[in-house]
C-alpha cells in the first residue's frame, strides 16, 4: 500500500506536460469560462486603447469610425504632459485624485482596523452585534442619497452649523461645502462614515482566526488587554492587513467620482475635480474620445506602478506579497 502511494506520487511529479494536462482536464475545463470572461472583459477592451493614438470621431458605427480615424501618435499624451508641466486642470485633477486617495489610505485604512479591534474587545454579544450592524448599514446607501444627507447636514441651516453656533464656537454660519480647503476632509470623513463598518468585516474575520491558545498563554504571562492586542492580535492579522493595503494602493488612483461629482461644485473645483470627472467633461463631454482614452491609459499606468511599488516594499520588508 505504502509503496504504491509513493510510486504514484513519484509519477505525478515526473509526468510530462501533456500528461499532466490530461490528468487535470476537468479542472482545466472548469476554469475555461473564467478565462473567457477575463479575456472578454479585461483584455479585449484593451484594444480600444489604440484609440488614444488616433483622432477618433464617430462616423457610422464604431468599427467604421475606427478605421476611418486619423493616427496622430502621442499627441494626446503630449497634451496631458504639457498640462501637468503648466499646472493646468489635468494636473489639478491628478493632484486631487492622489491627495484624496492618500487621505483615504491613511485614515480610511487605519480606522477599520482600530474599529475591528475595538469591536473584538466588546464582551456583550448583543451590543457587539448591534454596533456592527449599525456601523455597516450606511454602506448600502447609494452615494446619491448619502450626498443629499451630507449636504443637508453641512448647509448653513443644517444641524452642524446650529450646533457650533449654539456652543458659541462660530460667530457666523459656515457654508462648509463652499470651502475648497475643507473638501478633501469632508470627502474622507463621509467615506469613512459610509464604509467603516463594511471594511472592518474582513479584519474581524481575520481576528476570529487567531489561535485562542495564544491569548491564554499571554494571560498566564500577565499581559493586559492592550498588550494582547499589540503583541498577539495585530501580528496575527498582519498578513491580511498587508494584502489589503497592497490592493488598496492599486485603487489609489480610482478614488471614485460619485461623491466628488455630487458634493463638489464650481466654487470648490480646484480641490474637488478628480481624474474621472475630468475625463468625462473633457473626453466624452467634448466628444474627444481619444483624449479621454489617453487619460484612462495614464490612470492605468500610474496604478500599475503604484501596485508594483507597494508590492516590492512589502516583499522587501518581509511581509506577504500578492504578485
Amino acid at each position: 500500500m505504502e509503496k504504491n502511494a509513493k510510486s504514484k506520487r513519484l509519477r505525478l511529479t515526473k509526468a510530462s506536460f501533456p500528461e499532466r494536462l490530461y490528468r487535470q482536464r476537468y479542472l482545466l475545463l472548469m476554469s475555461v469560462p473564467f478565462l473567457i470572461w477575463v479575456l472578454l472583459f479585461n483584455y479585449l477592451p484593451l484594444l480600444g486603447w489604440t484609440m488614444a493614438f488616433q483622432d477618433f470621431k464617430l462616423k457610422g458605427d464604431v468599427f467604421q469610425s475606427f478605421f476611418a480615424a486619423d493616427w496622430v501618435g502621442i499627441k494626446h499624451f503630449v497634451a496631458l504632459l504639457e498640462d501637468i508641466l503648466s499646472k493646468g486642470r489635468f494636473y489639478l485633477a491628478l493632484r486631487n485624485t492622489l491627495g484624496m486617495s492618500f487621505y483615504m489610505m491613511v485614515f480610511g485604512f487605519v480606522t477599520p482596523i482600530i474599529f475591528a479591534l475595538m469591536i473584538n474587545e466588546i464582551r456583550s454579544m448583543y451590543f457587539k452585534r448591534i454596533t456592527q450592524t449599525i456601523s455597516y448599514l450606511p454602506h448600502f446607501i447609494s452615494w446619491v442619497v448619502a450626498a443629499g444627507m451630507i449636504s443637508v447636514m453641512l448647509s448653513t441651516e443644517g444641524p452642524i452649523n446650529e450646533l457650533l453656533e449654539n456652543l458659541g464656537l462660530i460667530e457666523k454660519r459656515i457654508p462648509f461645502l463652499a470651502q475648497e480647503k475643507l473638501f478633501w476632509g469632508i470627502m474622507t470623513f463621509s467615506e469613512i462614515w459610509k464604509e467603516l463598518g463594511w471594511n472592518a468585516i474582513i479584519f474581524l474575520a481575520a481576528i476570529t482566526g487567531v489561535d485562542p491558545g495564544l491569548y491564554e498563554s499571554a494571560d498566564l504571562d500577565g499581559a493586559n488587554r492592550l498588550q494582547k492586542i499589540w503583541h498577539i492580535t495585530l501580528p496575527c492579522i498582519m498578513p491580511v492587513i498587508t494584502v489589503i493595503l497592497i490592493m488598496n494602493v492599486g485603487w489609489l488612483i480610482s478614488v471614485g467620482f460619485e461623491k466628488q461629482m455630487l458634493l463638489g461644485s464650481d466654487i470648490t473645483r480646484n480641490y474637488s475635480e478628480v481624474l474621472d470627472v475630468y475625463a468625462i467633461k473633457y473626453g466624452i463631454g467634448q466628444s474627444r474620445y481619444s483624449f479621454g482614452t489617453a487619460i484612462g491609459m495614464f490612470k492605468s499606468v500610474v496604478s500599475i506602478i503604484l501596485v508594483l511599488g507597494a508590492n516590492l516594499i512589502a516583499r522587501k520588508t518581509g511581509e506577504t506579497s500578492i504578485v
Binding site: 470621431k57 464617430l58 448653513t156 441651516e157 464650481d266 463631454g285
Partner: protein
Amino acid sequence: MKALPKLAAAALSFSLLFSAVSPVTVAAASADPITFTIYVEDALDGRIEENFEGDVSRVITEQTGVTIKYQFGVGDVSNQITLMIADQAYPDFVFSRSHLNNFLEADAYIDMAPLIEEYGPNIKKLYGDSFEKLKDDEGRIFYLGQDFISPIVEDPEDSFEIQQAVLKEFGYPEVKTLEQAKDLLKKYIEKYPTIDGQPTIGLTLTCGEGWRYYITLINPGLRAMGYPDDGNFYVDPETYDVQYAFDIDGIEEYYRWLNSMYNEGLLDPDAFTQTHDEYLAKISSGRVLALTDGHWEYVEAEQVLEEEGKYERTYARLPVTYSEDIVHPAYRPAAYSPMNGVGITQNCPDPVRAIQFLDYLCQEETQILTAWGIEGQHWEIRDGKRQYTAAEMEARKVPGHAIETAIGYMTYPWPCIGGGEDSNGYKFNALDDSQTLWDTYNEEAKVTLEAYGVGSWKEMFPQPSEFIPSEWGQAWLIWDNQPPDSDFAMLHTECNDLTAQYLPMACSAAPEDFDAIWAEFMERLDAIGVKELNEAATQLLADNFYVHVEAAE
C-alpha cells in the same frame, strides 16, 4: 443651455392656454396608420401625454394616420446620443440641440430640400422669407428650424423677481436699480426676520448643479449691465465685433453688488452649493424674497405657493438694472435663427410620408389645431377674437387637464409659427391677447400690476422698439452649435469653466478681497486666450450671419 428656457417658454405658453378641436378639413396625404418615432433631447418625460392620445393628437392621427412615439433625453444625454450614433439606431426623426453636430457629422439626417420641393408647399409657406435660412452652404436642408418663426412679445422669462408681499409692504415703490432692490430686501428682513418660523432669505441662486449657474449667476449679471442674451458674449450691433462678456470692463459691478449682498447676509450662503431641489424647496416655503432666475426654472415652486394660496409669496417680474440709465435688454428683437430643429434620419423607412407629415404640421389649420386645440371644443370665435370656450377655461383649473387636451404639445420642437395672425385675421397665439394674459395671473399679481398701473409684466419693461434689432438672430445658438471638439468650443468651455469658478469665489469673498480675485480672474482669462476667443466668435458670427443674409436676399 440657453435653449432650455426657450423650450420651457414655448411649452409653457401653450400649456397655459388650452385649445380646441375643430372639424378641420385637411387634405391628409394618406391615412394608412403609421407610427413615427422621434428622439427629443430634452427631458420632457411626463410633461406630455404618453401614447399620443390627447384630444389634439387624436385629431392629427385621424387626419394623417400618423402616431408619434417619443423618446426623450434621459440623464446624461451625451452618452445616450453617442450610443445612438455608434449603433446608428436612429428613430425616424431626431431633434437635438447641443449634439446637433454629432448627428450631422455622422450623416444621420437626410437632405430634405428635394423632398420639400416636391411635397412641402406648406413648409415653404410657413417659413416664408426665412425658408432660405434653413439651407446650408450647399443648399441642403437637414432640419426644420424649431423656434417661433414669427415671435410674440410674451412676459419676460428672465427678470429680477421680487415677492408681491415685499412690494406691498412698502407701498409698491419704484424698483429700478439693484441698490433699490437691496434696500427693499434689507428693510423687509429687518422687519420680518422669519417667515412661517424659518429664517427669511433675501436672495438665493441655484449654482450647485452643472449648467444651472448660467441661468442665475451669469445671465442676471449680463442683463443688469444691459447686455442682451447673445450667450456669454456681447455683439456690437454696429460693427458686429463679438466680445466675451467677462472680458468687458465694468461687468464686475453686478458681482460686486452680489458680493455686498453676500456679506450683508442678504444672499443665501448656500447659494453656490445647494442642489436645485434644495433651491426649489426654499422658494416653495415662501421665505425667499427675491430671485434673479428664469421663470421656467422656478415655476414649479411658484405653483406650490399658488396651490397653498400664498399668492403674496409669488413673484413680480421687474426690470431691475445696475443703474437707471441702463436699458433692460429683455426685449431686444432678434431675427429668426433656425439653428436646430427636427430632421428626418437615414433610418426613416418612408421619408416621403415623413415630409408629408411635416408639411401637414405646417398647414395653417394644423398650426391653429396644435396651438389652440379643436374648434368648438376648446376654442371658438367670440367677440371677433379666437378665444377659449368657457368650458375649457373651467376645465383648465383641474390639474392634469393639459395632458388630456395635448394642446401645445406639437408646437415644440416641431415647426411652429408662434405669433402673428392667420388668414382670417385671428391670432395664432392665445397669449398674444391682453385679456387672456391677464386671466393667467393670480389675485395678488393682479393687485401688484394694478398698483404699478400696467396690465402685464411685459409692459413694465423697455419695449422692442427701443433697441437695434439683432440681425444676426440668436447668437447663442451659433456658439452652442459648434462641434464640441472644435478649437472654438474647447476654448469657450475653458473660459466658461473659469467663469463658473471665479464668479462664486468673487461673490463670496470678503469685500476687500473682491478686486484681487477679479484681477486674478482677468489674468487667467487672458492667459487661456480670451482674445482669441473673441476673434473666433467674431469670425463665426460673420460666417453664419452673412450666409443667412445672402440667403434671405
